[in-house]
Each structure stands twice: as structure tokens, then as C-alpha cells.
């Protein structure tokens, strides 16, 4: 106030004087108004007589006097609303109703906000359900966190999570103190016969302790006791619920009857309940026979489980087992290179990459959720600004900042509540889809992926989090709005600029993130499409497949059995081809090292590698594979005749540099192979194998009938379904030996598809992530553009009044958005390119630099971003310049 020409701001002076009084806003406003007006007038009069500075000093001095405090006391008409009152239920309900009404008035915000948050919550819930059902929930047994899995690691030989030999297990069981119960088991496939038809099922041989570890009780009868594991114990068996229901017609008197497993009779002592599954898919449990004479390191390899004793933990158990292992080492000639490891059951038995995959997927969707919250924040910010006048009036009428914040939070809570409902529905659908796409044979017994209470609780938590995150910023912003300046004029420059910068940053990040996700999704999609369209170069249409395992007898009888199967299948009417082999073409298995006669190999590692398949002559007709040179495997290629092989072109290219290989001899196996040399008699084209790292590998076909031993054989029949599918096959096999199970029935197309399920499943998930983030980024961009266009209505009105055309305005408004899109997308695509390099192992038939994918992502993202940015711009140009000028 050194300058006489300046009029002091008495309003501010009085407000400062009242600051500590904490009056009700309306009381304060009236007091300020009255005193400031008085001081204004008095200052003018006083300044005229004694000068501005002395007048100012004197009036300020007077304002400081105690009398003002009395005036304040007198003016305290209304109680200042307190926090407690603001949050009381009655007014909260009023806020909810008010919020519902006001959201209904802006259906755009409601729809976009609910969609954005709902998608985010839905995806997160779905991924969390998968994680929860797979890892977090634990085994479906009592106190599952105490169930441990003991495995052997052998870092010297690169073997992790190996089993413990029975000889070691028996010593551990006798000496260990960490577990209150302790058991071992091994799994296998077995033929179950008797009843209407034989079947090949999973079985487990167990010690009695396993049932104690799991703390389960049978539905009928009993589980194993120690006596059952003794070598001379009578053979006993426990049935799974499904076996009891399907093969024994749910007979409650089944105990004491017998079941035939691998041709041997077992007395049924118990039936487990419907939900019991352990380990994966076992349908019959047989006692594991102990053998006290086994030395450490001897005997079959077991899966070992234990239930921690109260007071023991994984750390102490690990220490104890390391000590026990040292005792065992002392008993043998040479210490073992293996080290026992005690881990929680699921952690030990679920592959590490599944852990990593699930957690990184969860991380990715949490990011999507964060983007969704950012979006809602943006939408609500825009809304807050549009409503600043309303908020100003509310404040002037006595609403405290807290009440304003609460109103804003209530609105975002309503939004989050609706979004949580939508998200739950989406997650429900998504989980159904995931379960459908997740192949049964990859499923572990404890996996139970669904929307359960724990997950629902998580959704509610997310909704609350989303509310706070997306509601807080606009809420604080709305509380910060200065009442009097809003009421006086509506220029939203200062505060909205602050908000605008933050919104734009959020959208930039969103655009970058969704570009990156879309680039990843684009590459994976292209891989999946490529995999689907890849030509296997052999017939898969109308090819029906199955496996059969001969009843255990001697090898001559097995051979006779399989030969009759071949004969009878080949003579079936309406069949185009019948194949028997040790596996199906295109399957993952059957790789081996080999040597070419006359070449020298320095070490085992220098031997060649090839796929192998032992086939009948039906291979060529069933799968429509031509012989390019020489001959195929023929009916006369049997034991006693010259051992022959047919190789594919890739094999020839790799080993004979394209020269004619016919007449050369090869031997399968590495340096220590004892197998016979086989003579190459023919060449076939290279066919597809579902190995993702090498899809057209070298292949050596040998004659099935020249194999020394046959027990399990794959069958393929080509022809119309009524002649070639599973029932026809079963009839043929049953006519020869009714005890032989026909299982793993499928079609060749399904067999090939199974190899790529994980890629398709996670590829599809990626596509969903990419699309969701695209939608979110579009909504976010729209919100920001709408917001900035709203702020500039007056400016645009002036421009148009001064002669700017609609096109100029459109260009002006879009330009800002376009810049943002360009920056966001460039950053995102660079991120995406880095990311794609990291997942190169998942890409097939597409290079990580494929420009078409980048172009597509640019196109899709650019187009939708452009739309999101042009709509508000178009709306801005429709503003009548006159109205725009008058509007503020």
C-alpha cells in the first residue's frame, strides 16, 4: 500500500482478520461483505483528508482491535458443520440420492466411467480368480498350508524337483521329526477291466501316511493302514467316487468285492468322496509295497509329502532333511549329488514359469485397472469443472469442503459400485471362457477357478480402491475451487489449466500403454493365426485317433494281438486308411540322437538329432503322405528282414546335403546306443510337428513291426465318422481282446490343436488386454478433449465471430489431440517393440519387426483416437458464436 493510487483490498483484510474464527461460511461471507464495504467507503473519505497510507494504517489498526472479536461472536449464528455431522447417515443418504440424480443427468460420464472401471475390475477379477484358484487358495484339504512336498534337486546333473528313491524314503520316514505324518507315492497308468468295458486310467501307489497327510476320510470303508504296505499284505485297492459310480453302479456293498487292475485282482477296501482327487486324476489307489532291504538310492522314485508338525516350519524341515541326507550319504559308498528340498506343495509341483506367467498377467491387468481409474479420474475432473458453479453455490450455502469432497466421493462410489457389478459379470463370463479354453489334461487337481467369496471380496476391495483413487483427485479439486471467484465469474483458467495438464499426462500414459499392449497383442495374434493356418503337409481331416495298451503278457502274444488289430482295422468297410504306430505324426514326443554309418562323432553331443516314429504301412494311406523316392514302409518289413527306415527331405537336407540317401544306414540313439543299423529305403516330404521351436524337423520313420517290444500303440483311422470314430474302433479291439482298453480317443485336428493351447489361451488373453486398453485409451482421450473443448468455448466463439471457419476451429481443437496421440503412440510403440523382442520365443511365422503389425496397431489406435478427438472438436464448432460469447 505504498502507492496512493492503489485501493486496498478490504475484503481480503477482513477475511484474514476472521480466519481463525472458523465461522460458518455464510456468516463469514456476510460479515466480510459488511465490514469491507464500510472500510472501503471510510478509506476513500479518510484518504482524501489524511492521505492514503495513513488512512490505510489507521483503518488496519482499528480492524485489529478486540471489538471485532465481539462482533464475530455475535455473528456466529450457525454452527459450523462438523465432520461428524457431515458423515452422518441421513445426509449421506441425501448425497447418494443427489449423486444418482446428477449422474443420471450426464449419462455419457456414467456410461464411459462404468465401462472403463468395469472393464478394469472385470479383467483384474478374472486374472485374480485364476491366480486364486491356482496358487493362493491352496490344496482342498484341512490346513493346506502345512502340507509339504519333499523333492530332490541335483544341480550337478541339472535335475530339479526329482523324486526320492524308496530306499531313501523309508529311512526318512523312520527318522524325521518335522512332520506329524509322512507319505510317499508314485503314479502310473493302468488298465482297469471287468464291467462293461476296459479302460486305461491314472492310478497311484501310496503309503498309508499319504491319507494322514491329506487328513481325508473315505466315504465308504477305510483307507490304507501300515499293514497294507507290507510286502506280503493281501492286495487291496481304494476306488475314486467316479469309478465306484460308473463301474459299480454306486453299490454301497462294494467293500470286499474285487477290481482288476493290469490283469491282477485287488480287494476293494474303501471308496473316496466325490471331491477327493490326489494326485492329479488318480482313479484307483493301491498300496505301495515297502521293501526294508533297499539301500539308500535304491528303489522306485517317489513323490514325498508330509504334514508339518505344530511348531515346525519349512525352514526347520529343510534343515532336518539336509541332516538326514548326510546320514544317508554316510551309509553309501559315494555321497549323492542330490539335495532334499522341502517346499509348500503347490509351489513345489507347479512349474515356475506358470507362477511367473500368472503373476505377470496379474501385473498387466492391474496396470489396465490403473489406467481405468485414471480414466474415471479424468471424466470426473471434467465434470467437476463443468459443475464448479454448482459447487460454489453449495459452498456459499454452507457446505464445508469436507461435504463437497464427500459429495464427489459418493458419486465416484456409485460409479465404482456399478462398475463392480459390471466387472463381476465380465469376470464371470471371462472365467467361464478361461475354464473352457484350459485343457483338462493340463489342469492340476487343486485348481478350482471360479468367482468365489474371496475373489468377490477382492472385487469389493478394488471398487473401494477405485473409488478413492478416481474420486479423490476430483474431490480435492472441487474443494479447492474458490467460492467467490466462481460465483463472480466463470473463467476456469487457473485451476482448469492445472487439471488439464494432469489429465493430458494421464492420457499420454494411457495411449503409450495401450499401444504397447496392442503391439504385443498384434504379434501374438498374428502368430496364433499363422499357427492355425499352417499346413501340416499331411491329412488331418476325418482322421480319428486313440491309444491301446495290450494286456500284459509276453512280447510274442502282444505282437500277435497288435497284428490282428491292424488286420481287422484295415479290412473295415468304408475306411480309407488304418495306422498303427508308437505315436501320432506331429506329436511332440519321439526325438532321438542318431549316427550315420561311416561318420565319426567325437562326443555324444556331436550326434545328430531327429524326430522318430515307428509306423505300419498304413501311415502313407491314412495321412496321405507320398513317397518321393524309393519306397515306404511295407508289410514285409518285419523282424528277421532287413531293418529299414524312411527319412524326410529335411533329414536329407541336413545330413546328406540333398544327395540321395537311399542305401545309407543310420542308427538311432547316441554314443551308447545298442540298437541295430537301419537302411534308408525311401524319402518322404517334410511334415509338420507341433514342436513350437522347430515346426518342420527332420524325421526318421522305422517299421513298427521291426520294434523289439510293443505294449502301447497309437491308432489312427481315416474315413467317415460312422466307420472310423471311437465306437467302431472299440468294437474291433474288443472282438480280439475284451480286456484291452481303448483310450485317449480324439481326432487328428484336436491332437494338433492341443499342442498350441497355451499360446492360443494366453494369446487370446493378450488380445483382450490390448482391446480393453484401446477402449480405455479412447475413452480417456475423449474425456480430455471434451474437457479442453469445453474450456475453450468462449475462445472458439470469439474466433468464429472474427471469421474463423468451422474447419479452422476443427483443425485447432484436433491439433492438440493429434500431438498427444502422436507422442503417446510413439512412446508406446517403442515400448511395444522392446516387449515383443522379449517374448520372441512365443512368436511363430512372424518377425518381431514385422511392419504390417506395427502399421495395423498404428491404424487401429490412430483411428479410434482420432474419433475420440474429433467428436468434441465437432461439437465445439457447432457452438453459436453469439451464445458462446454471452455464456460467460
Amino acid at each position: 500500500m505504498r502507492d496512493d493510487r492503489v485501493v486496498p483490498d478490504w475484503r481480503a483484510e477482513v477475511r484474514a482478520r476472521l480466519a481463525g474464527a472458523r465461522l460458518h461460511p455464510q456468516d463469514e461471507a456476510e460479515l466480510v461483505e459488511e465490514m469491507a464495504q464500510h472500510l472501503d467507503e471510510q478509506f476513500i473519505d479518510l484518504a482524501a483528508s489524511i492521505g492514503a497510507q495513513p488512512a490505510y494504517d489507521r483503518l488496519r489498526q482499528e480492524l485489529r482491535e478486540h471489538g471485532v472479536d465481539e462482533a464475530i461472536t455475535r455473528r456466529r449464528k450457525r454452527a459450523r458443520p462438523t465432520a461428524g455431522r457431515a458423515w452422518a447417515s441421513g445426509s449421506l443418504w441425501r448425497d447418494v440420492r443427489y449423486g444418482l440424480r446428477s449422474l443420471r443427468r450426464s449419462p455419457g460420464v456414467l456410461a464411459a466411467g462404468t465401462a472403463a472401471l468395469g472393464l478394469g475390475i472385470g479383467l483384474t477379477t478374472m486374472m485374480f480368480s485364476v491366480l486364486y484358484g491356482t496358487i493362493i487358495k491352496g490344496l482342498p484339504f484341512a490346513d493346506p498350508s502345512r502340507i509339504a512336498y519333499v523333492s530332490y534337486n541335483d544341480p550337478q546333473h541339472g535335475i530339479m524337483d526329482g523324486g526320492a528313491p524308496l530306499g531313501d524314503f523309508q529311512r526318512f520316514a523312520a527318522r524325521q521329526r518335522s512332520f506329524e505324518s509322512f507319505g510317499g507315492l508314485f503314479r502310473g497308468l493302468a488298465t482297469i477291466s471287468g464291467g462293461d468295458r476296459p479302460d486305461r486310467i491314472s492310478i497311484a501307489r501310496m503309503t498309508a501316511g499319504v491319507f494322514d497327510v491329506l487328513a481325508v476320510h473315505p466315504m465308504l470303508g477305510r483307507t490304507f493302514v501300515t499293514r497294507d504296505n507290507e510286502p506280503d499284505a493281501p492286495p487291496t485297492a481304494i476306488l475314486a467316487f467316479s469309478v465306484w459310480r460308473d463301474r459299480y453302479a454306486a453299490d454301497s456293498g462294494v467293500i470286499g468285492k474285487s477290481v482288476r487292475v493290469n490283469g491282477k485282482s485287488y480287494s476293494i477296501i474303501g471308496v473316496m468322496g466325490e471331491k477327493f482327487e490326489f494326485p492329479d486324476e488318480a482313479k484307483i489307489w493301491l498300496p505301495l509295497q515297502l521293501n526294508a532291504s533297499l539301500a539308500p538310492g535304491e528303489g522306485p522314485s517317489l513323490n514325498v509329502v508330509g504334514r508339518l508338525r505344530p511348531g515346525a516350519d519349512f525352514e526347520s524341515a529343510n534343515a532336518e532333511f539336509r541332516g538326514l541326507m548326510q546320514q544317508l550319504d554316510a551309509e553309501r559308498a559315494k555321497p549323492s549329488t542330490e539335495r532334499p528340498v522341502v517346499l509348500p506343495y503347490i509351489r513345489a509341483t507347479l512349474p515356475k514359469r506358470v507362477y511367473t506367467l500368472l503373476y505377470s498377467m496379474l501385473g498387466a491387468v492391474m496396470l489396465v485397472l490403473l489406467v481405468a481409474c485414471a480414466n474415471v479420474t479424468n471424466l470426473l475432473l471434467d465434470r467437476t469443472l463443468a459443475r464448479s458453479r454448482e459447487i460454489g453455490i453449495r459452498t456459499a450455502l454452507g457446505a464445508t469442503r469436507l461435504a463437497v469432497v464427500r459429495q464427489s466421493l459418493v458419486e465416484s462410489a456409485i460409479l465404482a459400485g456399478l462398475a463392480a457389478l459390471l466387472g463381476t459379470a465380465l469376470a464371470y463370463v471371462g472365467i467361464g471362457w478361461f475354464n473352457g479354453a484350459f485343457p483338462g489334461r493340463e489342469r492340476r487337481f487343486w485348481m478350482d477357478i471360479r468367482l468365489d467369496p474371496g475373489v468377490l471380496l477382492f472385487v469389493v476391495g478394488l471398487a473401494a480402491l477405485a473409488t478413492i483413487v478416481s474420486g479423490l483427485l476430483p474431490a480435492i479439486q472441487s474443494a479447492k475451487l474458490d467460492v467467490s471467484s466462481i460465483l463472480k465469474d466463470e473463467s476456469q483458467s487457473a485451476s482448469s489449466l492445472r487439471v488439464g495438464r494432469m489429465s493430458r499426462l494421464i492420457v499420454g500414459v494411457e495411449l503409450a500403454l495401450s499401444s504397447a499392449l496392442l503391439v504385443g497383442a498384434g504379434f501374438i495374434t498374428k502368430s496364433v493365426v499363422w499357427l492355425r493356418s499352417v499346413d501340416p503337409r499331411f491329412t488331418t481331416e476325418s482322421v480319428y485317433t486313440a491309444r491301446i495298451t495290450a494286456s500284459p503278457t509276453d512280447s510274442a502274444k502282444e505282437r500277435v494281438f497288435f497284428e490282428s488289430v491292424e488286420r481287422n482295422l484295415t479290412s473295415l468297410p468304408g475306411i480309407d486308411g488304418a495306422y498303427l504306430g508308437n505315436d501320432l505324426p506331429g506329436s511332440w514326443g519321439g526325438g532321438d540322437r542318431f549316427a550315420v554309418e561311416g561318420r565319426t562323432y567325437a562326443s555324444n553331443r556331436d550326434y545328430g538329432r531327429t524326430r522318430t516314429l515307428a509306423v505300419t504301412p498304413g501311415f502313407f494311406t491314412t495321412f496321405g503322405v507320398r513317397v518321393l523316392r524309393g519306397r515306404g514302409i511295407a508289410g514285409g518289413d518285419r523282424i528277421g528282414a532287413t531293418a529299414v527306415a524312411v527319412v524326410n527331405e529335411e533329414f536329407v537336407r541336413q545330413n546328406f546335403a540333398g544327395a540321395d540317401p537311399i542305401g545309407h544306414r543310420v542308427r538311432l540313439g547316441g554314443a551308447d546306443s545298442k540298437r541295430e543299423w537301419v537302411t534308408i529305403v525311401g524319402v518322404i516330404p517334410t511334415t509338420y510337428a507341433t514342436s513350437l521351436d522347430d515346426m518342420f524337423p527332420p524325421l526318421v520313420l522305422t517299421a513298427l513291426w521291426q520294434q523289439p517290444r510293443l505294449s502301447t500303440v497309437s491308432i489312427a483311422l481315416r474315413g467317415p465318422a460312422e466307420f472310423a470314430s471311437a465306437p467302431a474302433l472299440r468294437k474291433v479291439v474288443a472282438a480280439i481282446d475284451p480286456e484291452v482298453p481303448v483310450y485317449a480317443t480324439s481326432t487328428m485336428t484336436e491332437e494338433l490343436a492341443q499342442a498350441t493351447w497355451s499360446l492360443r489361451l494366453f494369446g487370446n488373453l493378450f488380445v483382450v488386454f490390448g482391446l480393453v486398453s484401446l477402449v480405455l485409451a479412447t475413452i480417456g482421450l475423449y474425456a480430455v478433449m471434451a474437457f479442453s473443448a469445453r474450456r475453450r468455448v468462449r475462445e472458439l466463439g470469439i474466433r468464429m465471430a472474427l471469421g474463423a471457419s468451422r474447419r479452422d476451429v476443427l483443425a485447432l481443437v484436433s491439433w492438440q489431440g493429434a500431438r498427444q496421440i502422436a507422442i503417446g503412440m510413439t512412446v508406446g510403440v517403442l515400448l511395444g517393440a522392446t516387449f515383443v523382442r522379449l517374448i520372441r520365443a512365443l512368436l511363430f511365422g512372424v518377425q518381431p519387426t514385422d511392419p504390417s503389425v506395427f502399421a495395423l496397431v498404428f491404424g487401429v489406435l490412430g483411428a479410434s483416437a482420432f474419433v475420440a478427438c474429433v467428436i468434441p472438436a465437432l461439437r465445439a464448432t457447432r457452438v453459436d458464436p453469439v451464445l458462446a460469447l454471452r455464456s460467460e
Binding site: 456476510e30 465490514m35 464495504q37 483503518l59 482499528e62 485489529r64 462482533a71 455475535r74
Partner: protein
């Protein structure tokens, strides 16, 4: 010079009297009192408003925001019936007081 005690006692009477003619706003009251007392009685914001608000609380006067064309919004105070009664009572007691003083001191007005 009037003592503060005297000023305080008389201030309410002065304000009531000034408002008897017409409604007035705070600064106007301050100026009128100062002018009519020829500078003997002065007020400022810290002394005037506690008084006005006390009188308003007592129900003697009532303030209303009035907006006149071309002027800023002002709070005008006017007398209530209770205020008018209080004014009459104070006038009566002043008259008695002055008469009593006169009869004792022998001071006479023309």
C-alpha cells in the same frame, strides 16, 4: 471529552435515535454520529459493529441487505417495534435524567 463509560451508555441511544427517522447502514451511522456530535463521539468498525450486532441480537434493530441501482449491496438497519419501545423508554429516562441534573446543577438551556 466524554468518558468511555458515558459513550457506551449513550451510544445505543444515539443509534436508536438515528434509525428512528429512516433505515441506515453502518458507515452512515458512524458518519452521522461523528458529524452531529462534532467529533466528540467517534466510532470505528471494531466498536460500531459489536454494538449493532448486540442490538440486533436484542431485537431492537434488524439488518437487511439492500441493493440499489448503481450502488453496491449494503446492509441497512431499521428499528423494530421493540427498538421503538426501547427508544421511547430511553428518551423518557434521558428526559428525567436531564431534568434531575438541571434541577441540581442549575444549568439551563435556552
Amino acid at each position: 471529552m466524554l468518558t468511555d463509560e458515558l459513550k457506551k451508555g449513550s451510544a445505543e441511544f444515539l443509534i436508536l435515535s438515528l434509525l428512528d427517522a429512516e433505515p441506515r447502514h453502518g458507515y452512515e451511522l458512524q458518519k452521522l454520529i461523528e458529524a452531529r456530535s462534532k467529533g466528540v463521539i467517534t466510532f470505528h468498525v471494531a466498536s460500531l459493529y459489536p454494538l449493532l450486532y448486540r442490538m440486533e441480537d436484542r431485537g431492537w434493530i434488524v439488518g437487511r441487505w439492500v441493493e440499489k441501482t448503481g450502488e453496491r449491496r449494503r446492509r441497512f438497519y431499521r428499528l423494530t417495534p421493540a427498538g421503538r419501545a426501547a427508544l421511547e423508554a430511553q428518551r423518557d429516562s434521558w428526559r428525567e435524567f436531564v431534568a434531575a441534573i438541571n434541577s441540581i446543577s442549575g444549568v439551563r438551556y435556552a
